[in-house]
Amino acid sequence: MTVSAHTPLLELNHICLSFDYIETLSDINLTMNEHEVVALVGDNGAGKSTLLKTIVGVYTPDTGSICLRGENVSIPNIKAASDYGIAAIFQDLSFCNNLDIAANIFLGQEKTSPFTIRNDSYMHVKAREILSRLTSPLSAFRSMEGLSTGEKQTVAIARAMLNNPDIILMDEPTASLSVIQTAQVLSYIKELRNQGKSILLVCHNLPDVFAVADRIAIMRHGKIVAIHHTQETTYEQIIAEIAGARQVNNEFINTESISVSHKLIDRYN
């Protein structure tokens, strides 16, 4: 609750998306503000990755609107999203193993001088700059082959940061990372947030979610069932809502088990 009028950076209003007969996203309403990390949690198949892909332009919603800095926009593809300042880092880090790190950072967005000749030196300098901002010891000349998952993740983050986006979407950024790499990615997420970025984070690791997120949105079967401030919720509440239980008098009750036990009670009466 704030007194000052404050336009959210991103607003998703009544977003719906269906694939054949499955309602993958159903009436999604979500706002994202500057200086904020929103975590998106939910079971497999809840629609988290689909929501991310919709925001970044891979899918176009059937109905509903996306509002960026107060204006309705349509995001037909990833390039348009990038122009709007939205970048995404997905789990399948698609890189070209035969090229070096700098080339992979600029993949698809190569800087060319007039006459469409690639400007390799500019790209290498820029790549080194971004990597040092991520405090990564990686050299821009190294080949992608032989990098660990954590190092590839760093290059993916560098690629996403290339055009200085305001909104960053991350799909399971700490999956299969070592302790130090997880520490670096989480610290970097906090650092980006403090710089004013807005981050939407899909993560299964609840302690990591509670460590970096300001708000937690729970998705279930294509719907957002609840959004909580991290400081005002507990692990139990989040897990219960992921599983579809509802809270009755400080207890989480799965409605299915209630109907089963009623049947048992009836049988014995």
Partner: protein
């Protein structure tokens, strides 16, 4: 004199000379060892130094230093690298890594940090791992163990090279018995035997200390406290801690609880503190109290947000921080009248809000100290408020393991 007599006198003279030479070479060896020990002491105390600096610090001639260093390098105890001093090439001497590494761990309220240093006080690794508020000991200790193992591996060292581990906590520590000194402040950790947990994995000594103490150690060895043998270090964040450095050494008190100024009473009818007392400074300057007064205008924010907004000029946040500074300054002034330090060093999260905190703090301290004092006390802010606790823990581990002049004045 006959020729024979002459020769026998010559032999006798040579025999006497030989005996004298033996004596001299005997004391030469022990003198060389004593000088090597002096070099070793100097580098452990002051960090890596050039040969010229070593000569000045030990009083030996540069030629002697050069010979001894070459010998110690050959024995694998020292390493040398080239460096520049005053525009000239110089040889930087440091203790070889195989002498061992010290591990410092800081278990904070929402993060875990690790720092590894060697005997020349060089930082070999530093990592910060965000944790959720209210993180539980069982999961945090496992994470800490993994972090230590991975970090040691990442610098191509082995666990056997660790000479000591120092764990820094935001609670009073009973230094003598190496356990939590006041129950209730880190409630979840009161019944956790941290040292026993790490002793299962490490053969080296494990120590516990208070976070303000290890931060002060870092300040005295590498921070702004380097030139001051007598200073008061204050850690101002979610709660207030302090540390007293007297005559170049950390003063811990009889139990290790010296400096807990966060538990000096400022309001006889105030809130009950986690320590059990009432109206402690910590009850008026803590994250919950500072952020809750802004809930109407700012919604729910964290202390980090509050500090950032204050840095950006938000008037409400600046006011909250300034009022907190006045409260803290009053208690600091009282401590200074008792202790008479040369200077005060301010660290911790609140110090990161810059002048928003430091100016009102300075004014409130000066107001309560002797108006006619010859020189006003120096109040400085730490240059490494984010890392001093963990760095200090690693430096303290090295110092404790090397049996140097003890860290504590006890």
């Amino acid at each position: 004199m006959t020729f024979r007599a002459f020769i026998s006198i010559l032999y006798i003279l040579m025999f006497i000379l030989k005996c004298m030479a033996n004596q001299i070479s005997g004391s030469q060896t022990s003198l060389r060892e004593a000088n090597m020990a002096m070099l070793f002491d100097a580098i452990t105390k002051y960090g890596a130094m050039t040969q010229v600096e070593l000569a000045e610090a030990t009083g030996l001639s540069t030629a002697t230093v050069s010979i001894l260093v070459r010998r110690l390098v050959d024995d694998g105890l020292f390493t040398t690298t080239d460096t520049i001093r005053s525009g000239r090439r110089a040889t930087l001497v440091s203790i070889a890594r195989k002498m061992g590494i010290g591990v410092g761990l800081h278990i904070g309220r929402n993060h875990l940090s690790i720092c590894i240093t060697d005997f020349s006080q060089k930082i070999l690794a530093y990592h910060d791992r965000p944790l959720p508020y209210g993180h539980k000991p069982d999961s945090t200790l496992i994470e800490a163990l993994r972090l230590i193992h991975e970090t040691v591996e990442s610098i191509a060292a082995s666990i056997d090279e660790i000479v000591a581990v120092m764990i820094s906590l935001a609670t009073p520590i009973d230094w003598k018995h190496q356990q939590i000194g006041v129950r209730g402040i880190l409630r979840d950790w009161d019944d956790t035997d941290i040292i026993a947990y790490f002793k299962k994995s490490f053969q080296c000594p494990i120590f516990l200390d208070n976070d303000a103490n290890t931060a002060a150690i870092a300040e005295s060895k590498q921070g702004v406290g380097i030139d001051f043998p007598n200073f008061l270090y204050v850690q101002a964040g979610d709660g207030i801690g302090a540390s007293l450095f007297i005559n170049g050494a950390l003063y811990r008190g009889s139990m290790g609880l010296a400096g807990e100024i966060g538990h000096i009473q400022v309001d006889p009818f105030g809130d009950i503190c986690a320590c059990g007392n009432r109206g402690c400074l910590d009850t008026v300057v803590n994250e919950q109290r500072l952020t809750s007064v802004l809930s109407f205008t700012h919604g729910s924010i964290t202390l980090d947000d509050l500090i950032r907004k204050a840095q950006d000029g938000d008037p409400g946040c600046r006011r909250v921080i300034s009022d907190a500074a006045v409260r803290v300054g009053t208690v600091i002034a009282q401590t200074c009248i008792s202790m008479d330090p040369q200077c005060i060093i301010i660290g911790g999260d609140l110090s990161k809000s810059g002048d928003a905190f430091l100016e009102p703090l300075r004014q409130s301290i000066q107001r309560l100290l002797f108006p006619n004092a010859v020189a006003p006390i120096k109040i400085m802010s730490s240059t490494m408020p984010d890392t001093n606790v963990t760095l200090g823990a690693a430096l303290a581990a090295i110092e404790l393991a090397s049996n140097q002049p003890p860290v504590s004045a006890q």
